[in-house]
């Protein structure tokens, strides 16, 4: 597997060596069609382990679509067709042998709008561990829930009302609850689809801080409309335009010295 991967890599990516060293996810010539619409065109991109990668680009550019390819959430859309290869730790996640349930336990997701279950705060966080049978007993489950809430920076605010409905929290708290829920499964990668777009600046700042902390343990991919956010939280940035990956590189380089004119135009606010 490694060998074939290697040869593939050489044909598709520039920085082969570095990618093989640290790439967690490698997408190669990934295409997505929604019925007749070609939404994602030949995207080849590496997501590096232990880094925050941000996807930026104007609305409808395919960044969310690509994000949803990484945990096969696009499977749930009937008219959606994905082709090409997406490797995670060298294994094709679109291989028929791969179980999508397994994959999603490894690749967690946080959505644009906070979507806690209409259950208690505790049950929200315990949901993943319960369905996957991660905790052997009640004590272990308690431990997982508390640690996850702690890591999501929510524990202090909710520890006295673990039985209160998760839907009763504020927007920012709900989103952190969703993050706690995602990390309770101990995934390797966390995908975030515009996690702050429904939040006020203070809640946004808290989430950004959190993302920075989570980087130590998780590989994070974040889709964002805010270029400042991308600059603040990510180490690598990928710019999408009309379904194509225009440019990918270190965040600093993308924002200070973009190679492509389109990228430059977008980050300086000339279009988008």
């Amino acid at each position: 597997m490694r060998d074939t991967l290697h040869s593939n890599m050489e044909t598709h990516t520039v920085d082969v060596k570095e990618a093989v060293m640290t790439a967690k996810i490698q997408a190669m010539k990934t295409n997505v069609h929604y019925a007749d619409k070609h939404a994602l065109k030949d995207v080849t991109l590496d997501i590096r382990e232990g880094e925050v990668t941000s996807f930026i680009g104007p609305s409808g550019c395919g960044k969310s679509t690509f994000l949803r390819c990484l945990n096969r959430m696009n499977d749930t859309i009937d008219i959606c067709r994905v082709s090409g290869t997406v490797l995670m730790d060298g294994e094709d996640i679109y291989d028929p042998k791969i179980d999508v349930v397994q994959l999603r336990a490894q690749v967690g997701m946080v959505f644009q709008k906070p979507n806690p279950f209409p259950k208690s705060i505790y049950d929200n966080v315990a949901y993943g561990p319960r369905i996957h049978g991660l905790a052997a007993n009640k004590d272990e489950l308690d431990e997982i829930v508390l640690t996850s809430l702690e890591r999501a920076g929510l524990l202090k605010e909710v520890k006295d009302r673990m039985d209160a409905p998760g839907t009763g929290l504020s927007g920012g708290q709900q989103q952190r609850l969703c993050i706690a829920r995602a990390i309770a499964v101990s995934p390797e990668v966390i995908l975030m689809d515009e996690p702050c777009s429904a939040l006020d600046p203070i809640a946004t700042a808290k989430i950004e801080e959190l993302i920075d902390e989570l980087r130590e343990n998780f590989t994070i991919v974040i889709v964002t409309h805010s270029m400042q956010q991308a600059a603040r939280v990510s180490q690598r940035t990928a710019f999408f335009h009309l379904g194509e990956l225009i440019e990918v590189g270190d965040t600093e380089q993308i924002f200070t010295n973009p190679e492509h004119k389109l990228t430059q135009g977008y980050i300086t606010g000339r279009f988008g």
């Binding site: 959430m73 336990a105 959505f111 979507n115 279950f117 993943g128 409905p165 499964v185």
Partner: protein, 441 residues
Amino acid sequence: MTDVNSATATEGKLSGGARTKALVAAGIQKRYRAERRFRMYGLVAIVSALAFMLLLFVNIVGKGYTAFVQTEVLLPIHYDAAVLDPSGTQDPKELHRANYGKIYRDSILGLFPDVQTRFEKRKVTGLVSSGSGFEIRDAVLENPALIGTQAEVWVPASDDVDMLIKGHIDRNVPEDERRLSDQEIAWIDALDAQGRIATKFNWRLMTAGDSREPELAGIAGAVIGSFLTLLVTLLLSFPLGVATAVYLEEFAPKNRWTDIIEVNINNLAAIPSIVFGLLGLAVFLQFFELPRSAPLVGGLVLTLMTLPTIIIAARVSLQSVPPSIREAALGLGASKMQMVTQDVLPLALPGILTGTIIGMGRALGETAPLLMIGMVAFIVDVPGGFTDPATVLPVQIYIWADSAERAFVERTSAAIMVLLTFLILMNAAAVYLRGKFERRW
């Protein structure tokens, strides 16, 4: 449009905000008038709907409330051992067969010693219900020690006496136009003067099966029949309907076949219920040779009728579960089954329950398909099981409404009141359940 044009012409010199303000001012009264008119229409619609409902209730209750009491006659009964137990063995079989009619007939004739002719004797004994003999028999069978004793016993009056006491027979109409002759009325008044006539709560209406004699007829058979039929319907249609809805909504691929199935389910909901009755007759009775008039078959037929209602209601409430909840579950790696059972179904349950109860309400009020499978038969016994012959409340109403006796009019209304009470309770339960499940979050 013309308003705007003329306004533009007259206010042509005004520009920007001033012009908008003038145009709004010109049209504002008209808008408010339209709103007031619309509110009025709504009010009229609601008031007239309520008025008709009130009229219906007043009519039914007004006609029916008297059925809850029954006129009874106090007779000095002599449990004559020579008549009841000539052999003196107190053998239950003998006791069962004894001539109890003679007991109550002798008793009432004893109250009118002047009556001599056979014709008049028959008239006098006809003042009390022919069911009195059975009531005396039941009392004797229960307590054979009564034999040889005497006691004052309340027995049901005949339906004509009942109607006279309740004021449904007018004493002022000419004798040949009313059910009771002057002589009979005189006897009744004589009994009344002795304090031998009273109206008592009509337990028979609640505990007896159907009867040709209105004063003995009750709705117990129909209520039990309805209950058994609905139980079969609920046990079959709820799981089937929910499973169908869940499969179609969550698991089935969206293709031409599922489209065809969907169209057919919607069509099924619109099929006249009598057609389901014919289907039940052909399939369940002719082909599977299930028993006629049985709650089991009634329940099967009503299941066919209720299924589409439940499926449609369940699908709508499944669809109304926000996609974000599904994404949250799937994103955490829940399998489809886990997503459905843990997240989607609990959220859809209030809607499914409401739909089910409304479907059951429809099934409870259904008459036509049950006529086709023989549930319209005259059945005296209260059904004891799913395969016993039975009838249901609406069919009982239909049978009584069709009966000639004046006393069945009030009983028809009383049965309608009972049916409506059940329907109102079911709808209230639907509202309560919906509120309860939704309030949890």
